[in-house]
Amino acid sequence: MMSENKKSILFVLYIVTALILAVIYFSVPERKEFLEFNIRWWKELWQVLGSSYIRLVI
């Protein structure tokens, strides 16, 4: 029982640490530029797939 309690506390500590690290990681200033590039990349892929599909249908 004690061991399980210790494990639970340790688990909560681990998850809280992971969440803090996630916040730090995702909130660096460059993350915005990084996400914008990737959104642009996927938009371009979507357009490519869309126009390829239209050509195929036509």
Partner: protein, 665 residues
């Protein structure tokens, strides 16, 4: 014909070793026999290429194919006498079904595995579609392949520049594997997928290491798949660098070394110890040798491994089981014969060669200890200096800086990017928990593995360049596997976070070098039209716009057997205007590329004749350009006399370069 030969020889070599290792199933697990077959497959390829290239100067497709066919047929026949192919096939089928059963039972694991397969498929597609475009590949990795193929030999070549010298001195094990992927196909279409097989071996090694650490198989599969979702590893898998291969080989070596650790010794599992450990030790030695001969930093990895092995042997001396004490003499003998000797044989050649030719085994590096010069070299520091931001930070903060990935996009050479969010969010805290637990509970196996990986990471001179130290993510993955096992009752939270981060990595591991519009353009082209000059990749485009013109001409006109002489080199290491050698070869590396420069016109003509130059690449305004112009003016002024042959015919000309056809005589 070439494709059939390539596929057949690869299947024959790999499966011959697979059947051979089936006979060692009492000392190796199924996963380790697969990894072992890969190690032996690589060793055979590299050894046969070195034999033909160094000893016989006959490194051509036919001798290479015949030699490997004979060796592998012999191994297959010998192995099939003891092991039936049907049983080997049955084992593969049963294991595949067993593992897929584990995966299917866990929906999140099934999702993770699916996105892993999707990623690998996407990588194969991109590797096939695009030519090799990475900087170092164009600078020296592929020119090494080209020079060996044109000479049919592994030999020193003329070194008019630093990069040419680098081509001579660089340890070539992985480059020989790149050559294997070109020589039969007579095409470089899949040469950039060379590192992908190492990545798969690395993923399998993480799984196997996790199982050895007594992590439940399901969680071991999680660790292995999450290890894969490291951006720099995913991007390196489709380019001709050697960094991913080096890191994966370290993990493979450590995986096999785990068979002879303190915990095996304490459990009395090695009652037949010395005999049973020899096969894993041999495979570890071969992996270490392959690593040693892959990159000039190879010795660092080997020294660390040997150091930790020595410490482990000292620990074993203090542990007694079943009334027997550890036999140090037996260990020394086994490690020397099965680990050290193969490592030196497979990897040491390149260093011995440099020592003989340049008086320094790690030439170009100047090696000094406490201001005492041990080996004279050209430089005592890295070729590329560190960015200012890194110089302004201390040892720890520069690591945190790169791990935070303060970059706008990922690139294959990592630059200042880290290991992705899986490492930063999940693996880092897991390492602390796992290490602490291992120290408290004296989990020697984990401590042994962690010590090698951590110490190699700490002593690596550029551990902030993440592509050099991808192996440390392996420690993170194994630690996370332990955390998973430890908190198994709360596994769902961890699974969901892991899947979300892996999915995020998949969606954001896009590089500006490969954009969707370019993918669309290349899908519509024939294979021969998918060239570097059409690709115009982001990483080199702004620096090579002046070069595209003659690259296109070479791609379209230089045929099998033609000799292209070039007459200029890079000025020092000015990366603002690089002179890439790789585009001087055609896509099959079936022409020859030679450097031809002399002090006088007459000597130059003699040199062109001696190398059988058919075409010459010159810079506009250079001395060669002036000689050619003078010769052509002479020809046109005297051509009315008849019986005059035009020595130099202009085939291509732009503002910066010319390619002329040289007609000797």
């Amino acid at each position: 014909m070439g494709t059939a030969a390539y596929i057949s020889i690869n299947l024959l070599v790999f499966f011959s070793w697979n059947i051979f290792l089936y006979g060692k199933r009492d000392s190796l697990s199924f996963a380790d026999r697969l990894i072992g077959a890969f190690v032996l497959f690589l060793t055979q390829i590299i050894a046969t290429e070195m034999l033909l290239g160094v000893v016989f100067s006959s490194l051509y497709p036919l001798p290479l194919l015949l030699l490997n066919t004979v060796i592998s047929t012999g191994i297959s026949i010998s192995a099939l006498r003891k092991n039936s192919a049907a049983r080997v096939y049955k084992e593969i089928k049963d294991e595949a079904l067993r593992i897929s059963g584990i995966i299917k039972q866990d929906k999140i694991l099934l999702c993770l595995f699916s996105i892993f397969l999707l990623s690998v498929g996407w990588m194969i597609f991109l590797g096939y579609l695009f030519p090799s475009y990475s900087w170092d590949a164009l600078y020296y990795h592929l020119p090494i392949v080209g020079q060996i193929m044109q000479a049919g030999a592994i030999q020193e070549t003329r070194t008019p520049s630093f990069i040419q010298q680098y081509i001579n001195i660089f340890p070539k094990n992985i480059n020989l594997f790149f050559l294997w992927n070109v020589i039969f196909l007579k095409s470089d279409v899949i040469v950039d997928l060379g590192q992908l097989v190492f990545t798969i071996a690395g993923v399998l090694s993480i799984y196997s290491m996790a199982v050895k650490l007594k992590i439940t198989e399901k969680y071991a599969i999680y660790c292995a798949l999450l290890f894969f979702f490291t951006p720099v590893l995913m991007l390196q898998s489709t380019i001709n660098y050697v960094d991913a291969a080096v890191s994966m080989l370290l993990l493979v070596a450590v995986n096999f070394l785990m068979y002879d650790d303190v915990e095996s010794h304490m459990a009395g599992n090695d009652l037949n110890g010395p005999v049973k450990r020899r096969t894993p030790l041999l495979l570890a030695g071969l992996s270490a040798g392959l690593l040693l001969g892959s990159k000039p930093t190879g010795p660092v990895f080997i020294i660390v491994m040997l150091g930790i092995i020595a410490i482990q042997e000292a620990v074993k001396l203090n542990v007694i089981f079943a009334g027997r004490s550890h036999l140090l003499k037996g260990s020394l003998k086994d490690y020397s014969i099965c680990f050290l000797m193969p490592a030196i044989l497979i990897g040491g050649y390149w260093y011995m060669r440099n020592w003989i030719l340049y008086g320094n085994p790690v030439y170009y590096m100047d090696v000094s200890i406490f201001n005492i010069q041990l080996f004279k070299g050209l430089k005592s520091d890295w070729v590329e200096s560190a960015p200012q931001i890194i110089n302004n930070l201390n040892y720890l903060t520069r690591l945190l800086y790169v791990w935070l990935e303060r970059v706008g996009y990922y690139l294959y050479d990592s630059r200042l990017s880290g290991f992705g969010p899986v490492w930063f969010v999940l693996f880092l805290p897991s390492i602390i928990i796992a290490l602490a637990h291992a120290l408290i509970k004296k989990k020697y196996r984990f401590l042994f593995t962690g010590a090698i990986l951590l110490l190699t990471f700490l002593v690596h001179p550029r551990n902030w360049t993440t592509r050099y130290v991808i192996f440390i993510v392996g420690l993170g993955a194994l630690s996370f596997g332990f955390v998973f096992e430890y908190f198994y009752k709360r596994e769902n939270v961890l699974k969901i976070i892991a899947l979300l981060l892996a999915g995020y990595t998949l969606l954001t591991v896009n590089s500006p070098c490969i954009m969707p519009e370019k993918i669309r353009e290349f899908v519509a082209l024939q294979a021969g039209e998918r060239t570097l000059s059409r690709h115009k990749p982001f990483n080199i485009d702004s620096k090579v716009r002046d070069e595209y013109g003659y690259w296109i001409w070479i791609e379209n006109n230089i045929a099998d057997g033609d000799t292209l002489a070039y007459t200029f080199v890079d000025t020092g290491l000015d990366t603002s205007r690089p002179f890439f050698l790789a585009p001087l070869w055609n896509s099959g590396f079936s022409n020859k590329v030679v450097y031809a420069k002399s002090g006088t016109y007459e000597e130059w003509l003699k040199e062109l004749g001696s190398v059988n130059a058919g075409y010459i690449l010159i810079r506009r305004g250079s001395i060669e350009d002036q000689w050619i112009e003078k010769e052509r003016r002479l020809f046109y002024s005297l051509s009315w006399m008849g019986n005059m042959k035009e020595k130099f015919e202009i085939m291509y000309s732009d503002d910066n370069y010319r390619i002329v056809k040289y007609k000797k005589g």
